[in-house]
């Protein structure tokens, strides 16, 4: 029940299936991702963190929509553009920020940074610095699920560009051959760095490639959280039933550059503006209002609470512990059993 009494009478399945709490939690996570990345960007510009980072601003619906269909014991493998997946799967932004700041409190104790954040406890097997690196790993996790007779699934996030790696093709083939519980979630943001899909793919859609591996290839509006969540939920149900993998292609867009080094020479301002107008967050909010899930005050409260959480997370990270250089090789090998 919500403040308006009647719940979403004429809404699509996504709104029927999820409670108001779940929907508002999803919105909050989208805000957390957005503010997390804006905060990271700002910290970088102020010289507080180093290295590079890949922002997913504009792609929050696919990250949160896909992970909404999952349980904590399900796995995900993520990418270099992985902050959203991580938060979607339930990671704590303050430990992510601590990692960004290179602190011992961080998810990887400061050894990994933005590109290698993982939270194994929440089922996130890790971002990856290698394009396509997570694809076979997800298939392997699904194989383990099957061997251990669990009914969990593995969601593998990857980009349009990654679908040009051999690892993509080998992974889809094995997953389908062995009917493993994998959902390949492609976030097609139209570019692999500067190269558009038109200039790098022989087919128009990544989903077209699924047919070669005898699995469903579904295309959804990646900026609609409802579209993404419904498609992934169905694919997950199929995977849990033992009917094998699916590929869900989310058509979306990153409104920021590829990374810190991007000068946006390969796309037009108009294109960027056009996609900014399709921002998934206001769009979700409009639907929440329309279906009577939340009013203006509730939405503002969510936004503000996400902002406060991120501000506190940055403070936490700034005050974290610097690793000791004497511990440089500490985690190269596991400690020997006594």
């Amino acid at each position: 029940m919500n403040a308006f009494g009647s719940i979403k009478p004429n809404a699509r399945p996504f709104y029927q299936k999820h409670s108001s709490e779940e929907l508002l939690q999803a919105l909050r996570r989208m805000y957390l991702i957005r503010r997390f990345e804006e905060g990271a960007e700002e910290a970088y510009m102020r010289g507080l963190i180093h290295g590079t980072m890949h922002l997913s601003i504009g792609q929050e619906a696919s990250a949160v929509g896909a992970t909404m269909a999952l349980r904590r014991s399900d796995y995900i493998t993520s990418t270099h553009r992985g902050h959203g997946h991580c938060i979607g799967k339930g990671a704590d932004p303050k430990l992510m920020f601590a990692e960004f700041f290179g602190k011992e409190e961080g998810y990887c104790r400061g050894r990994g940074g933005s590109m290698h954040i993982a939270d194994v406890a929440s089922g996130n097997l890790g971002a990856n610095g290698i394009v396509g690196g997570g694809l076979p790993i997800a298939v392997g996790a699904a194989l383990a699920i099957r061997k251990k007779k669990r009914d969990d699934v593995a969601v593998c996030f990857f980009g349009d560009g990654a679908s040009n790696e051999g690892a993509f093709h080998e992974s889809l083939n094995m997953a389908s051959l062995w009917k493993l519980p994998v959902i390949f979630v492609c976030e097609n943001n139209k570019y692999g760095m500067s190269v558009s899909t038109e200039r790098s793919m022989a087919v128009a859609n990544v989903a077209d490639r699924a047919a070669a591996y005898k699995m469903p290839g579904i295309i959804v509006d990646g900026n609609s959280i409802a579209d993404v969540a419904e498609a992934v939920a169905e694919a997950a149900a199929r995977a849990r039933r033992g009917d094998g993998p699916s590929l869900v292609e989310c058509k979306t867009y990153r409104t920021r550059g590829h990374s810190r080094s991007d000068r946006n020479r390969y796309r037009s301002k108009e294109e960027i503006e056009d996609w900014k107008a399709r921002d998934p967050i206001p769009r979700f909010e409009a639907e929440l209002r329309a279906y009577g899930v939340a009013g203006e005050a509730a939405l503002t409260a969510i936004r503000e609470s996400a902002e406060a959480e991120i501000a506190a997370a940055i403070e936490f990270a700034r005050n974290g512990t610097d690793p000791n250089p004497a511990d440089l090789i500490r985690d190269v090998h596991s400690p020997r059993a006594a």
Binding site: G51, M115, G166, I329
Partner: protein
């Protein structure tokens, strides 16, 4: 002869342009080398000057790209393949190691593979474990490949042009921290021979064999030590395969001490090879001290900036190391 100051990146770009001007068979391939200008802005505006046919953006398919480059080289082209980061050559190992390196040998010398691979390498940018490695010694282990590591803008240009002329596959490792370094570079196309080390500084007390960024750190260390009366001879190895053993042997015979300084992981790397060559050579009897290796830590490159620095030799490490090696023994 006109000589100007160029950055290391500009010197490479000039070599690429001059090679394309001189030979229509030369073309460039890689990820984001076109309108983006390359991840490190090495190709810059070459696509505007030479067009997309000769400055080809390829899909993110390192194995495929390497194979395409091998095929094109077999069929008469001279591809120059840019790996966005040297780390991604691990995805192309099959084509580099099993195909490019061996085709000529396997086919009885009937073919050659004039392929050049350019690989941005090394740590110091905060890019963490999968974008900071120094894997050059891996490739130098493979007969059939040539592996070079120019450390100055002038060598970057001259060795790249030599690599493009070379009938066999050459891997050029470019340290990322050097791209912005400036130095004098002659304008005309010239070649710096592959397989010749360069004595970057002469000295009497200890020979330092260094590679890439470590050449500059060793030179800085040598400046400090000179104020203490220790004169280090710094040899810029430049080429890992083939290795210029003679230059090192001659130097060690003069200085009687040897230190190897390199960024790759210390064990089973460049230092082991140089040490073994000295141990096997006539210079062995001249040694007045044990050989010293200063190399990367036995760990992946960490993200945290303090740890990242601690993972590879820095100037103070080299100063201390050389001081200990020489101390009381001059």
């Amino acid at each position: 002869m006109t000589v100007r100051e160029l950055t290391y990146a500009q010197a490479i770009q000039e070599a690429l342009a001059q090679a394309m001007d001189a030979d229509p068979d030369v073309f460039l391939m890689g990820e984001d080398i076109g309108v983006y200008g390359g991840a490190f802005q090495v190709t810059g505006d070459l696509v505007q000057r030479y067009g997309e046919e000769r400055v080809m953006d390829a899909p993110i398919s390192e194995l495929g790209q390497a194979g395409v480059a091998v095929g094109a080289a077999l069929a008469g082209c001279k591809p120059v393949l840019e790996f966005q980061f040297s780390d991604f050559a691990t995805l192309a190992m099959e084509q580099i190691v099993n195909q490019a390196a061996k085709l000529r040998f396997m086919l009885g010398g009937k073919v050659n593979v004039p392929l050049v691979m350019r690989l941005p390498a090394g740590s110091g940018t905060g890019a963490a474990a999968q974008h900071s490695q120094s894997l050059e010694a891996w490739f130098a282990h493979v007969p059939g490949l040539k592996v070079v590591q120019p450390s100055t803008p002038a060598d970057a240009k001259g060795m790249l042009l030599a690599a493009i002329d070379d009938p066999d596959p050459v891997m050029v490792f470019e340290h990322k921290l050097l791209y912005k370094m400036k130095g004098e570079v002659p304008e005309h196309p010239y070649r710096v021979p592959i397989g010749k080390a360069h004595v970057a500084r002469e000295g009497r007390h200890v020979t330092v064999v260094a590679t890439a960024i470590m050449v500059h750190r060793a030179l800085e260390a040598a400046d400090t030590l000179a104020t203490e009366g220790i004169e280090a001879e710094v040899i810029d190895l430049r080429s890992l395969r083939p290795i210029d053993t003679d230059t090192i042997v001659r130097s060690v015979q003069k200085t009687t001490r040897l230190a190897c300084v390199y960024e790759g992981v210390k064990s089973l790397g460049i230092g082991a090879e140089i040490s073994a060559r000295i141990a096997e050579s006539e210079a062995f009897d001249y040694l007045d001290a044990p050989i010293m290796r200063l190399g990367g830590a036995e760990a992946p490159i960490p993200y945290n900036p303090t740890l990242e620095k601690a993972a590879v030799p820095q100037v103070p490490d080299i100063v201390t190391g050389l001081r200990n090696l020489v101390s009381g023994r001059i």
